[in-house]
Symmetry: C2
Subunit: 236 residues, 2 copies
Amino acid sequence: MAKTETARRPRASKKTSSASASPRPASAKTETPYHHGALREALLQAAERVLERDGLAGLTLRAVAREAGVSHAAPTHHFGDLTGLLSELAAVGFRQFNAAMAAACETAPTPLARSLARPKAYVAYAQAHPGMYGIMFRTERLDYSRPSLNEAAEASFAGLANAVGTMRQEQISGDALTLSQAAAIARAWSMVHGFTMLLLDGRLEDIMGRLPEGTTPERLLEAMLMTPMGGKPPGS
Amino acid sequence: MAKTETARRPRASKKTSSASASPRPASAKTETPYHHGALREALLQAAERVLERDGLAGLTLRAVAREAGVSHAAPTHHFGDLTGLLSELAAVGFRQFNAAMAAACETAPTPLARSLARPKAYVAYAQAHPGMYGIMFRTERLDYSRPSLNEAAEASFAGLANAVGTMRQEQISGDALTLSQAAAIARAWSMVHGFTMLLLDGRLEDIMGRLPEGTTPERLLEAMLMTPMGGKPPGS
DNA sequence: TATCTGATCTTTACGATGTAAAGATCACGG
DNA sequence: CCGTGATCTTTACATCGTAAAGATCAGATA
């Protein structure tokens, strides 16, 4: 409350740039450059910081600009729109997410362990970065026509489809899908995504409270996944 | 755009209420009452209308007041807050939702048909009322300490737990849960909720496009549910 | 009957947000 | 040496949520 748009930034004063140190800044990353130089990246990092500090509701264009120490209209030039910023930030999130999933798969020795490690890493990422997950899956203001977001999100989906494919011991072609394959993918994705959403929204606390003392959400997820559901139907 | 806060409402003029029709309005619902009389209900209905017309982003306190033909500060008196209005509206949604689920269960003859009818009704409601579903499950501004919302949401959960219980042919006690029971409930809920979210967000279109021409989401959901996942684990 | 009282609704006001438009500032190439 | 275009800042505007004070009415009270 009462944050009446404070935080004046000094930056370069009116006409005091004639006696500069070197005409070519080279690697002079200290001292904010005159036009900042790498505002785009700085804004994305600032946005991530704001998101972790103040949550989804606190992530506004002006708050991000404030955090980065620039005027409130500066982000517009780089992202055009709030949708633009959110979309690019979501792309960053998807890349982090994909990296976490890949890392979790590599550390798992057996395929069976991997089939458990992936969902666990999924939920773990969402719990560690609830704001990011919210931007990726809760916000309606995402523009998937942006190449970076489209690419990152598609990579995420490809990883999932591939994991389901190896679990079923068959190759998932990038073209067509059988109903059984599609159902397996959608089932896995829906379940983990739904579980994560309900968990983050605190809607599973009712269930958790009725379980033996000290049962963790991870344990519940494990139990949910133990009845295998990636296999082909009986008559095939 | 350029909707510069129009829509003046006439209502009662300054001092022209002396020559009123009857001192006791009784059942005079025609002609807006002087203090409106039932603003609370009218606001909720207006909110539902705005939601269906303009979506989640268009559902603002002022828009609802405009739709109901009252001043923009009138809702505050009845709901206190935007969170208050959203919570009461979500409660309405949960009641509609519960009614739809109950109706779907009654029309199904066999228990097996019922186990399919419930999820289908779930998704069907969300598709028919995406705005409402968004308020119930996407918004972060919900106050579950409000009795009406808490009650409606809990009834929804109870219905789900009960359905899973009958599918497993056992009684779900309102007190404690075994891990197997909890897993079955969480699995069913997560899967349907996650599927609905992904479907509403258009994230399943990639999968749907790779399926045989004309395959509907309902068909995919059916396939997802066909590999039964409510049974007790083998060693029990 | 006349007045008081509390609930309901309206006005007014303030800080915050997204976005558009115009002005300033800088690197770079003619 | 001077434009030129990209980058950033200022200024402005419509809208939003919320608070606070004023108007309006029904019903109780004297």
